[in-house]
């Protein structure tokens, strides 16, 4: 089944963003250069974010395609089995409910245990994280502008704190041993 969303090649899709990037990088002169400097940076951020969104959309298509295939397989199995057993013709029976549960369990469990699903699932999540990272970068830029500590700077502090806690614990334990002697 051809995926309509992915019909354009990657080069064509990204060309759109590249063209905007080239356009906004046209040299400006004098006062216009100074006025457009920040604007250029924000526009570039926005364009990169769009690029990530396009990739996410592509990964989501692969993910949902796999989920749909599992769904079709499960429904197919339910139809096949219910046709062959007259007891299963009644959709309200307990037996029919168990058949549906078993068929869906089998189809989805084998999908979730497959390597291709693990790759598709993690690629979707990875792109979602790219969006978070991108927004983080934009926020960090603004925090720097406002002279507020950024997340990466706070991270350094947290790392140092953990090291200090460790060192303190070792010192305390050594001191305790000496004290007991």
């Amino acid at each position: 089944m051809k995926d309509e969303n992915n019909a354009l090649s990657n080069t064509t899709k990204y060309d759109l963003f590249e063209n905007w990037k080239n356009l906004q990088n046209f040299p400006t002169l004098g006062i216009f250069n100074a006025l457009t400097k920040d604007y250029h940076e924000y526009l570039e951020d926005l364009l990169s974010l769009n690029r990530i969104l396009v990739d996410l959309q592509k990964n989501l298509s692969t993910y949902w395609l796999q989920m749909s295939k599992a769904n079709f397989r499960a429904v197919g199995n339910v139809i096949l089995k219910s046709k062959s057993d007259p007891d299963l013709k009644d959709a309200n029976s307990e037996k029919f409910r168990l058949l549906v549960i078993d068929a869906f369990e089998e189809a989805y469990s084998s999908l979730f245990s497959s390597k291709e699903f693990a790759i598709a699932y993690n690629e979707v999540y990875s792109k979602q994280l790219d969006i978070v990272n991108h927004i983080n970068r934009i926020v960090e830029k603004n925090l720097k502008l406002l002279n507020i500590p950024t997340r990466s700077e706070l991270d350094e502090v947290l790392k140092d704190l953990q090291e200090i806690k460790k060192t303190l614990r070792i010192m305390k334990s050594r001191y305790g041993k000496l004290d007991r002697k």
Partner: protein, 352 residues
Amino acid sequence: MAIQDKNTQNRNPVDFSKVARTIELLSKGNHISVGDTPNDIVCETKLYRLLHYHRLVNRVSHTPILVVYALVNRSYVLDLQSNKSWIRHLLTQGFDVYLLDWKSPTRVDKYVSFDDYVNSYIDDCVEIVQNNNSADKITLHGYCMGSSMSAMYTALHQEKIKNLVTIAPVIDTSKDTTVIANISRQMDIDKLVSSIGYLPSEKLYEVYSILKPFKQGVNKYFNLIENIDNESFVQNFLRIEKWLYDTPPIAGETIKQWINDIYKKNLLFKNQLKLGKAKVDLKEISVPLLNIVAEEDHLVSPECSVPLNEVVSSEDRRLIRFHTGHVGLIASSYSQNNVLPKVGQWLKTRSN
């Protein structure tokens, strides 16, 4: 009110009043009490509590037991309700029981690693239990991820351990065929930690929901509707449900090591896992070992847990397999009747 088609055999009447009561029950929120066995908090820090349970019978064992719970979900599954409580059963067998109950890490704990959990927090608790009971050695008893941590601790601090009891430990991840292992092997955990700082609870629920999506995820609600008038069934359902949706996040460095070193590179089994400067060599373990695995475990494959008995040097080592699941091993009538008597028997002969 029941509606039934007279012409149809084997047909379940749709009892809408039962459906309505189920919806009402589920929408009320889950305020059921759990972890009711009386205990004292011996020590509490930002990341853990050490609980000491009150004696229920005369003590028959001189070696105290420290139970190390996993970093996922909450430890009250070991004391879910009195007639299915792992802790209570050990107490009634005459053991002195402590429980290491992990608290929720926050963003500030991003750099807390397995080195901290094993060499600091577990070690601190072991020392407290030793001092409280004037015991040179204790029994270390882990569940799931807590079993792996107990094995790591025993390999590094064996002089403080008399017996090691593990339930469903994660050891040889190359043999783990579960959905969790499958997802973990492909996960870009470095990106997750650098972006968010920890593994959020929601991500854990997401993975749990695809473990047995229909047999457990959907069918359990049909069973609840059918048994809505059975008080004991409903109470049990609510307790398990509360536990399933109650998990703390996992600190950044810890989950990075768990996924990269243990699941992807299998370093714990290869004896190459490093906690700080120390290398964890499971061969170093020579204390008596009891390893318990569940044949139908869908969270940790039995094939992943069993190799612990092959890598340790203990002469006294035993592996017991039970025909149940991951939670069934510790919080079920089956566990009370089949698993715990054997654990108690094994411990009693090695705890004086």
